[in-house]
Amino acid sequence: MDDVTTGEPLIVLDSVNKWFGPLHVLDDVSLSVGRGEVVVVIGPSGSGKSTLCRTINRLEPINSGTITFDGQALPAEGKPLAKLRSEVGMVFQSFNLFAHKTILENVTLGPVKVRREKPAAARERGLALLDRVGIANQAGKFPAQLSGGQQQRAAIARALAMQPKAMLFDEPTSALDPEMVGEVLDVMTSLARDGMTMVVVTHEMGFARHAANRVIFMADGKLVEDAAPTEFFANPRSERAKDFLSKILTH
């Protein structure tokens, strides 16, 4: 895939360290993600890839290093942080749709309460987004009434409703039944084609191959490899990555 990066990078992590007690979960991680770039983060469980993803909108605070989003250092707390979060969409492994709100209310909540958009306008745009992810006919239902794949697509629509500058995906298909993985990956692939900046933590190697600009391989809190997908899958440089790929690609 061509290098789509233009201008200054959108997300920059510089020497980021984080500990959970004695566990060094992010070990001197530096990474930059350009505008429109799709970066897939893979690695064994416990490698810190989810934590890395969650530090970018500060759901996980870091112990040292700096994270810059769109030219600005991440704010520590309060209103500036809330504003930054509203510009970074996040999709979780367990969907986390608001259980007491309908699908449409889930999608319009942010625009109405954070952006102060008019409810009617937010509703119209929300319905268009639900249509885009293929679940417009589920708008009036509650999350528990939807399948996992539908819930995750609704969660993507909820994040998109904020018109984010970048989207973070934290293992978006790991909690799904196998037959529902495809419908979610399809939505993500179309987002990638439309030029959305994406950081995707996933075990879906197919998605990494065909939609990513870069693959990041993490192990033991360290960023071990950073390469184009074709290069990474054909010639992993590190022993750790070779070992990982041999385990997941032999089946």
Binding site: L59, H100, V114
Partner: protein, 224 residues
């Protein structure tokens, strides 16, 4: 058998329970408001507020209610001169409401906090991730879901509050238990009857309350 046929006694009986209902109603409202604020403090990111909430709960949950009510009367009123009404009974009533509310708010706070813990952390994370503030996250996403699992414990707290209201009798308000004591003193031959009538009235008020809250909790149970 003429205890309750004497209109004077009957009137005392009715007004005794009216005091109980008024004490319960006003204290329930105050304790609910106070309890929500305390719970918000206890889950807030501000350490001073968290400490204040924890302090309140630890003090009032672990102090006998009789002491709290005594303090309101002998401390706040007799010593510090806090008078809430010229009328003696009304003054006792409001002092009672203060005592019952501060005490019950500690239990309301803990019920809400455990309700908040039943809401998966992902709900609050998703709320923060779309840019909602702490207050918005609590008000729009967490508390409405916590409320549903808090309904049943609220029922128990309300029932306890109604029975606890009789303790305001210790500072001289002629609520039901004080009326009962007077009647027993005057009608030594009808002790069992008097006791059964007063206990029966409490049961008649509180058993439906319990069922109502149980029904409400089921009705509002959140689907996941």
């Amino acid at each position: 058998m003429d205890v309750f046929t004497d209109p004077k006694n009957f009137e005392a009986y009715v007004s005794g329970f009216l005091w109980i209902l008024k004490l319960t109603g006003a204290s329930a409202v105050c304790a609910l408001v106070l309890g929500v604020l305390l719970a918000a403090m206890r889950v807030s990111p501000v350490p001073v507020l968290r400490g204040f909430g924890a302090g309140w709960v630890n003090i009032f949950r672990n102090t006998p209610l009789t002491l709290v009510i005594f303090f309101c009367y002998f401390g706040l009123y007799s010593t510090l001169g806090l008078s809430l009404s010229q009328e003696l009974d009304l003054n006792r009533y409001w002092l009672g409401v203060i005592g019952l509310s501060t005490y019950t708010a500690a239990f309301v706070c803990e019920a809400i906090r455990s309700g908040i813990n039943t809401v998966p952390t992902g709900q609050a994370e998703a709320a923060r991730a779309i840019g909602l503030s702490f207050a918005q996250t609590l008000r729009i996403v967490v508390l409405p879901q916590a409320a549903r699992s808090v309904i049943a414990p609220f029922g128990s707290i309300l029932i306890a509050l109604c029975k606890n209201a009789t303790i305001v009798g210790t500072i001289g308000l002629m609520e039901s238990s004080n009326v009962m004591k007077d009647l027993i003193n005057s009608y030594g031959n009808a002790v069992i009857l008097i006791f059964l009538v007063f206990a029966g009235t409490f049961a008649a008020l509180l058993i439906p309350t319990g069922y109502f809250f149980g029904w409400l909790a089921n009705k509002l149970a959140v689907k996941r």
